[in-house]
């Protein structure tokens, strides 16, 4: 989230698209309701009429996988009717930037495509620069090659009739949504977009989110209270686990992982590659070196490039992401799998195939509270003959969140501490302790060896105590970072150095633990204004509650709206003051050339309506149909996102519309959570929702002769599952331009373990993902339904 939960109350209009907070983030609805009480309008856009839709002023029905068409039409509407925030767009975004003549867009394709690799030469989308490399601009926004004009041309194709013919939305409702949401472009108004996995789990997922961001930039809705692009994250600490680099392509704090390429063969070469010429990321070498110092301590010195060569370097161009990991397992390239609170047999795409791949493992370690479908994949219940599965499995019992202490970071980036309420149950242990015990044992095993493998682990700086119980204080201090010599805590990431004199385990958190106090433990709930609660816990970065908050004020530093003051330039005091921590040095005044550059992480400081070289399928979001789809693309002759990559063919059977004519999607329920381990094993929750079901429309039920609670089979090209039919009005057939299609939905929480059991929806989902993030396309696939 650029903003945070309490801030939702300040919105004039809230558009929830690809999310269902009333059921999946129930308590967030306190603040949504508050906005409505104050006269705010709620728009819900979803394939299914959810409980969020029920609370909304307007509900727009949208076929799964057509967000870009939907938002593209809104962008067009806002531009056509000149509803955008003119000053904001002209000065805070890259609307005026001029794009190089090599940029072209024709029939769904941008320039520079290579069919063989399914990749674009992104240099063709660059900005035009002068001899010194400065981007050329046209402040009048009239140059036909400026971002504003190109965007206008691109989205002019997204006229209302074409859009609703693709999305299936009722035309009047769609126009109402365009108008209502477009009204937030007025100076001083605020609109917020809330999304979740309904936005991301598509072959065009990243571009869906880009489309939301473009709309928000046009309406001047980023950086202000009641605005923002807000991801409603699914797990209590998925924000933190991402911040801390538990992904193959990121180390902590969103920095790059080195590759085994020539350019990365020296630390300097690597830093040159990853450090941009302007924007806040020019400081990256300081953050990276401080991180290496945290990793390798005394073994990271100027003489050995700060231990850079101890870091593993991934194969250049190789994709190690979740689905490719299972592809590799399928090809028998993996011997071992280590799982900490992870249950892919329920949560992974085409999960039966993923489960089958597990039998190729030599060993598996599962750390969990409950026996999961994954840790038990070798059992008869899983459909396996145990005697033929040669995988050695070790299960380590973890304790729950209140049987240990530590912090989690919520969607609003609040890092909140959880104290220990009781000793771990039985012999279970905290994951922190398990990791520490394992590290100590491995270090012990290697200590007398000098192979390259031994050198790496021996170089690792592991100073969390001398027995099996780690000292969490030391871990916290390590995350924040300290001065290597004096061991004094670092106050802010602005103080980090690139000479090895400072450490920082995760630079974006630096400042949460100044010398005497862990700020994540703060419990002062005084509202000093705008419900930012600056003394409650700690928000990264630097306790900032709303990102890009410079944009909450106009060109002179005055708030756009008196009711929504974020920060304002106080000429008398010579600094920014207000209700939040400024996104930059507080004394940055009108004399500073970057005074009007709110988007500090971008080179140039302007919000990116046009993404010059960031996304794999193009600088503007363009609609493509899902991998499996019932109709041809109305916007071009290109059916599937041209930059999507395919994995192992055997892992990803594809269904066609003649055999599987119904669109399907998956969703979550209030009473269950993710793969169900922590809810299907909880008696009350198991009792509340104890059966797997699919939700189908009255029309489809009639066509198929299905009655309420009938047992039905859902079939896709990947497999079949059995579930109860729940017939509702919440799904309606879609009247698209070419034909009418049915749409169904189902929860994905079930598996065969636990108290409440049921078929696993992900046995049906395709093994293909977004061209940028590779998040699987769980949310739109084709199926057929029949009675048992």
């Amino acid at each position: 989230m650029t903003n945070h939960w309490n801030d939702l109350q300040f919105a004039d209009v809230l558009m929830v698209i690809g999310a269902n907070p009333a059921e999946n983030h129930p308590i967030s609805f306190r603040w949504i309701s508050k906005a409505i009480e104050k006269g705010g309008k709620l728009i819900s856009v979803d394939p299914r009429y959810t409980r969020t839709s029920q609370m909304a002023n307007v509900y727009g029905q949208l076929r799964s996988g057509t967000d870009i068409a939907f938002i593209g039409g809104m962008i067009n509407y806002v531009l056509e009717h000149e509803l955008y925030h003119k000053e904001y767009v002209a000065h805070y975004t890259n609307a005026a930037y001029i794009v190089a003549d090599t940029y072209k867009f024709e029939d769904g394709m941008f320039s520079g495509y290579d069919e063989a690799t399914r990749k674009y030469d992104q240099s063709q989308w660059a900005f035009k620069t002068d001899e010194e490399g400065n981007v050329l601009t046209d402040p009048t926004l009239t140059d036909p090659n400026c971002v504003y004009q190109l965007m206008k041309k691109h989205y002019a194709r997204y006229d209302i009739d074409t859009v609703v013919g693709v999305t299936g939305t009722d035309k009047d409702t769609y126009m109402d949504i365009c108008k209502t949401y477009g009204s937030t472009g007025e100076v001083g108004k605020a609109g917020t977009i809330l999304y979740a996995m309904g936005g991301t789990q598509h072959t065009v997922g990243t571009q869906n989110i880009r489309a939301y961001a473009i709309l928000q930039l046009l309406l001047g809705n980023i950086g202000i209270a009641g605005g923002g692009v807000n991801a409603l994250r699914g797990e209590s600490n998925v924000q933190g686990s991402t911040d801390f680099g538990l992904l193959y392509h990121n180390v902590p704090g969103y920095m790059e992982v080195p590759t085994g390429s020539e350019g990365d063969s020296t630390y300097q070469g690597f830093l040159d590659r990853i450090t941009p010429a302007s924007g806040y990321w020019v400081n990256k070498p300081k953050f990276y070196t401080s991180m290496l110092k945290s990793f390798y301590g005394d073994n990271a010195t100027a003489d050995n490039e700060f231990g850079y060569h101890f870091m593993p370097k991934i194969a250049p161009g190789k994709d190690y992401s979740f689905m490719r990991l299972f592809d590799a397992m399928h090809r028998k390239e993996l011997e071992g799998l280590i799982l900490f609170g992870s249950n892919p047999v329920v949560g992974g795409p085409n999960s039966f195939k993923e489960q089958a791949a597990m039998a190729n493992l030599k060993w598996m370690v599962a750390v969990d509270l409950f026996e999961t479908e994954t840790s038990a994949f070798w059992q008869k219940e899983a459909g396996n003959d145990p005697s033929s599965v040669q995988t050695e499995v070790i299960f380590l019992p973890a304790c729950s969140s209140f049987e240990k202490e530590g912090s989690v970071t919520n969607s609003g980036r609040w890092m909140q501490y959880r104290w220990q309420g009781i000793a771990p149950k039985g012999e279970s242990r905290a994951d922190l302790e398990i990791t520490h015990m394992l590290a100590r044992r491995l270090k012990e095993l290697y200590k007398n060896e000098s192979t390259p493998a031994a050198k790496q682990i021996n170089a690792l700086y592991w100073n969390y105590g001398d027995d099996d119980h780690p000292d969490i204080e030391l871990v916290c201090r390590d995350i924040n970072g300290y001065d290597w010599k004096t061991k004094k805590q670092i106050q802010s990431f602005g103080d980090l150095q690139d000479d090895g004199s400072t450490t920082a385990g995760c630079w974006i958190y630096t400042g949460f633990y100044p010398e005497n106090e862990n700020l994540a433990k703060r419990r002062d709930n005084t509202n000093e204004g705008m419900s930012n609660f600056l003394n409650w816990s700690f928000a990264w970065p630097a306790n900032r509650r709303i990102l890009y908050n410079r944009a909450s004020a106009d060109l002179n530093g005055k708030a756009w709206s008196k009711e929504r003051v974020g920060i304002e330039w106080n000429a008398q005091e010579g600094k920014w003051t207000g209700y939040d921590i400024p996104d930059f040095v507080a004394t940055k005044g009108p004399d500073d050339p970057t005074f009007n550059d709110p988007f500090i992480m971008m080179a140039g400081g302007k919000g990116a309506l046009y993404a010059a070289a960031k996304l794999n399928e193009g600088p503007f979001p363009e609609h493509y149909e899902p991998y499996e789809n019932p109709i041809s693309n109305a916007f071009s002759s290109v059916q599937l996102n041209p930059a999507v990559q395919f994995g192992e063919e055997e892992m990803n059977a594809k269904g066609e519309a003649d055999k599987y004519p119904i669109v399907a999607t998956t969703y979550r329920l209030s009473e269950h959570w993710q793969s169900g381990a922590m809810t299907r094993n909880v008696p009350w929750l198991a009792e509340l929702v104890n059966h797997m079901f699919i939700e189908i429309s009255e029309e489809l039920a009639k066509e198929k002769g299905i009655k309420e609670k009938d047992k039905v089979i859902v079939a896709t090209a990947r497999g079949e599952i059995e579930a109860y039919a729940m017939i509702t009005k919440r799904f309606k057939p879609y009247k698209l331009k070419e034909k009418t299609v049915h749409h169904i939905g189902m929860p994905w929480h079930f598996g065969y373990k636990g108290i409440a059991t049921g078929a696993t929806a992900n046995r049906l989902t395709p093994h293909i993902g977004c061209a940028n993030s590779t998040i699987p396309e769980y949310k739109a696939f084709l199926c057929d339904v029949r009675r048992v």
Binding site: W5, Y248, Y320, G336, G406, N410, G421, G426, V475
Partner: protein, 190 residues
């Protein structure tokens, strides 16, 4: 325990707890509720603040526990986001502790076996460490195409979205910086 539930906060808490319990356990007879509230099991317990382990709203929860059981949990009235309220999941968090399905001992499944065996921590951890070392030593690449890469592509790590930040930090540090894994992934990708 260095929790700073302030005195003001604590007093307010005790009141709220008594009121909730009165309704749940005693119906609406206020008088007898008041009389009996003094004797409630939790009356002598100090609440421990925690944050809900489910979704990312990050609601505050108070845990009342004695030596060997979690007696009661409820929404933290001082928490600015949930202000004492919780959804169905946050409300039942006590049962994450009490559920009979909790695994409380390390378990081992030998290749080809059809059952788990309970083992002790030393056995389990030694096995894990030995497996990691064996696979890693066999597959570790010091160089690839003449460039130092120090990695293994034969071990994969998954998970983290329900863990604490401090845990994520140590996991990332151990498996990437210490052991050279490339396949490090978690729920954010799916």
């Amino acid at each position: 325990m260095e929790v700073n539930v302030t005195r003001r906060q604590f007093l307010k808490l005790s009141g709220a707890v008594a009121a909730t319990l009165a309704v749940v356990e005693l119906g609406f007879d206020e008088k007898s509720a008041k009389a009996q509230s003094e004797e409630f099991k939790i009356a002598k317990l100090t609440p421990t603040p925690t944050i809900c382990p489910y979704c990312s709203v990050g609601c505050g929860i108070l845990v009342y526990a004695n030596e060997d059981d979690v007696v009661y949990t409820e929404g933290d009235p001082d928490h600015p986001i949930n202000e004492g309220t919780l959804c169905s999941k946050g409300t039942t968090v006590r049962q994450v502790y009490t559920s009979e399905k909790r695994v409380t001992k390390p378990m081992y499944r030998a290749p080809g076996s059809s059952k788990w065996e309970e083992v002790d921590w030393d056995f389990a951890l030694d096995k894990v460490a030995k497996n990691i070392k064996e696979t890693r030593d066999k597959t570790f690449m010091e160089k690839e195409n003449g460039i130092t890469v120090n990695r293994t592509d034969a071990i994969a790590y998954l998970g983290g979205a329900a863990l604490d930040n401090e845990e994520c930090h140590l996991l990332q540090k151990l498996f990437r910086a210490g052991l050279g894994l490339s396949y490090i992934e978690h729920q954010a990708r799916i």
